[in-house]
């Protein structure tokens, strides 16, 4: 099985600060990390590799410094890492991003593409599904659990607002994964020692199979009207008590707030 995982480098904060003049993210002074949902996707891929045997490739489109998350992926155990970076790809919205990634994927061999559900900087959840549309692949989003029959068929549990659905899908296909569905492994010490001695393939826009008018700023129909940070909700309270005590506790709290 060949798996490609699409990952993104994002600022390490859920309180993204936005420049009110330009409406863009202020990245200075904010450390960058691998997007949590993407890391979940990578963990799914590595578990499939352990259970069924697979070749796992990670690809990211971004600035040259996105190399850091590819090294992290190598240290976690992926087989191949690709950095798609080119000035021509800059200023891309989700459509141009998915066009470019689909263009890269068209040149590759795969049975399964995994992306994170959404990135914590943009929160759109669009790139994964768009890649599947560009490549005309079946897709399941919001994946929680996945099994493989060893013969090109995946059985998938998909999270929905009401509960979950069990679905089957044949390779080649695409899934988008939730960070909460799986605990990503730590990089191994040995993997870390090797990470910077291994190759990260650097691809430019000429290497991918997509017309130039579909990528970068030119390929982006979206224009941002206004960006604003999400308002903060206070953290909830957690109690570890018996069910009997919990009933009294909840009723007490509801009365305290004059809800009942």
């Amino acid at each position: 099985m060949k798996i490609v995982v699409c990952i993104k480098q994002v600022p390490d904060t859920t309180e993204v600060k936005i420049n009110p003049q330009t409406g863009t993210l202020i990245r200075e002074g904010v450390p960058s990390i691998m997007n949590p949902d993407d890391k979940g996707g990578l963990e799914f891929a590595l578990q499939l590799k352990e259970q069924y045997g697979a070749h796992v490739t990670v690809i990211t489109m971004g600035l040259p410094q996105a190399d850091a998350i590819l090294r992290e992926a190598l240290a976690m155990g992926v087989d191949r890492a690709i950095l798609l970076t080119d000035r021509k790809l800059g200023g891309a919205d989700t459509l141009a991003t998915s066009s470019a990634l689909a263009g890269a994927l068209r040149t590759m061999d795969f049975d399964l593409i995994i992306t994170g559900r959404q990135a914590i900087d943009g929160d759109t959840a669009q790139v994964g599904p768009q890649i599947a549309e560009h490549l005309d692949l079946p897709q399941v989003s919001y994946l929680e659990h996945l099994e493989y029959d060893g013969n090109k068929t995946f059985t998938i549990r998909k999270q929905t607002e009401e509960g979950y659905q069990m679905l089957q899908m044949d390779a080649p296909c695409l899934v988008t994964v939730l960070a909460s569905a799986v605990k990503p492994r730590y990089m191994s010490v040995s993997g870390i020692v090797d990470a910077y001695n291994r190759e990260v393939e650097v691809w430019n826009a000429d290497k991918i199979d997509v017309p130039e008018e579909r990528i970068g700023k030119a390929g982006s129909p979206t224009s941002v009207f206004k960006s604003f940070p999400k308002s903060l909700k206070p953290a909830g309270e957690t109690f570890e008590v018996s069910p009997e005590e919990a009933v009294d506790l909840i009723i007490g709290k509801l009365k305290e707030k004059h809800i009942i």
Partner: protein, 379 residues
Amino acid sequence: MDFSLSKTEELFLQMIREFAEKEVKPLAAEVDEEERFPIETVQKMAKIGLMGIPIPKEYGGAGGTNIMYGMAVEELSRACATTGVILSAHTSLCCAPIMENGTEEQKQKYLPKLASGEWIGAFGLTEPNAGTDAAGQQTIAVLDGDEWVLNGSKIFITNGSYANVFIIIAMTDKSLGTKGISAFIVEKTDPGFSIGKKEKKMGIRGSATTELIFEDCRIPKDRQLGQLGKGFGLAMKTLDGGRIGIAAQALGIAQGAMDETVKYTKERKQFGRSISQFQNTQFQMADLETKVQAARLLVRSAHYKKDKGLPYSADAAMAKLFCAETAMEVTTKAVQFHGGYGYTREYPVERMMRDAKITEIYEGTSEVQRMVIAGKLFK
């Protein structure tokens, strides 16, 4: 001169910080309170290769640097000093002497199992009557045909009841003094070997500190480590390396106490403002922060010299002396900044202050470190 970390070290720091924060810190208070060896944490450490950081890849290790190993001990100790010393004793006091003095057969037999964490390592030098004066060894080893027969006991052995492999220092010829001391590899299952009483300690209460007992303990002749009569030098050299590990542990404790104190003094309000806004807090904390950073540079510089194959004995002594005394000062002041709350187990600085004290004592007291440093100065 370059003080920046390499990209590999940065990546390692990212991983070990996350590991310490998520896997080690949540257990620290429980491990202390219950005096419980955190075996589940050691298993998690083993899984990602932390038990064999500086061991070469050909022996199953990660092939990392001593600088990385020091960072691991620091970050683990920042969360839990017990976990930090488990790794330090295993790596510096058991893996390192085998790596540096073992025959090829010994390295092949022990290092892969130690590096994978399948086996935990320990080191036995201290005896009831041979502490700082380590030359007064009373444990004896006598050659009987193809076997060494050990008799005696060791005390205060870190990892004692959880270790599978022990580096044991014993007298092979009393008439030769320190030149009659040799080193041996003892396995937990060897006949005549047993674990004695477990110490009840002030700090690092989760680390299994025990007595080791040898009653006609018979081990094969080829378990002698290094040359006959060179055991004292081997032990001293092992401790040179171990001291940087303990320095890193002390540094981690100090950093952990700094983190807690910065957080607490920002939150705690008295006289209508956060106590971090008082100049007394700011000046004292600035001094402590400066010492912690100086301590870190001493640790890194000693490990740098070890990695480069340069002499580091005095550097290790300076790092341990300064880090241990800094840890004691920082944690004592951290408790003071926390006031009455700091004296209770509601806040981790109480534990950190108890944990810090041992770093001024084990693997050479602060007085011994001063002797080593002065010895180099006045040679």
